[in-house]
């Protein structure tokens, strides 16, 4: 029962995010659905885990992920492709996982 309610709530929040994505663009841009970038679901998982699944932590982590996304968009000036945002966010999450392991355990080479 509670899992059902939790999934309903998560879908509602994601729908709100989709609405904000379209409605908060600058005036004068076209309101097309082709400029809505796909792959934001994976960004969401990364931001949720980097924030340690706490709402306030996710606040800071999603700001970081959004900053990485904007950096990658602005890197198109140098000629890099648009999907390099995925690589930046993915490497941020991989380093976060490495930090989590190094915090809990200590590596011993045999």
């Amino acid at each position: 029962m509670y899992i059902f309610l939790a999934l309903l709530l998560s879908g509602a929040l994601a729908g709100l995010g989709g609405a904000l994505e379209v409605m908060t663009r600058e005036a004068g841009r076209y309101m097309t659905l082709q400029q809505v970038s796909t792959g934001f679901g994976l960004y969401g998982i990364s931001a949720a885990w980097l924030g340690a699944l706490h709402p306030l932590g996710t606040l800071a982590a999603s700001l970081y992920i959004a900053w990485l996304h904007q950096v990658a968009i602005n890197l198109k000036v140098l000629g890099l492709p648009a999907l390099v945002a995925n690589a930046l966010v993915g490497s941020a999450m991989a380093w976060g996982l490495a930090g989590y392991v190094m915090y809990k355990y200590r590596l011993i080479w045999r």
Binding site: L42, P81, V84, L97, A98
Partner: protein, 152 residues
Amino acid sequence: MAIESVTQEALRSAAPILLATLGAIIGQRAGVLNLGLEGVIYLSAAVAAVLGPPWGIAAAILVGTLYNLLYYFLTNDMAMNQILLGIAFTMIGYGAGSQIAQPVAGMPIERPIYIRAEAFAMAALLAVYLHIILTRMKIGMAIRPLATTRLL
């Protein structure tokens, strides 16, 4: 739109899906849930697109093997979380692949290999061979008890 051309196109595009699924099957029989296979496909496709038909296939196989080897090292030896690292590797594969394939992006294919529906037949043969390996040979018998999910 004739039915034969749709079926042929469906068979042609089903071959990469079948090969990736076979890779995932071996992994899950061995206890590894590799969610980074999408990044492996994208990175290997980018390498194969840059290098062309003769050497691209061998280079793509080598790149996919090395990427999975990195995933195995980080998951098994360093004990990172499998699912989250798989998602991170998917995203890294997308970014690295799109960077590698940038010189050839958007250009028409120069030398395509004229295999259409036969690619699926070759992949199906590989599936049958994999079934024989997993059930009869010694390596398959050693891999199968390591599964962490309950199978049929």
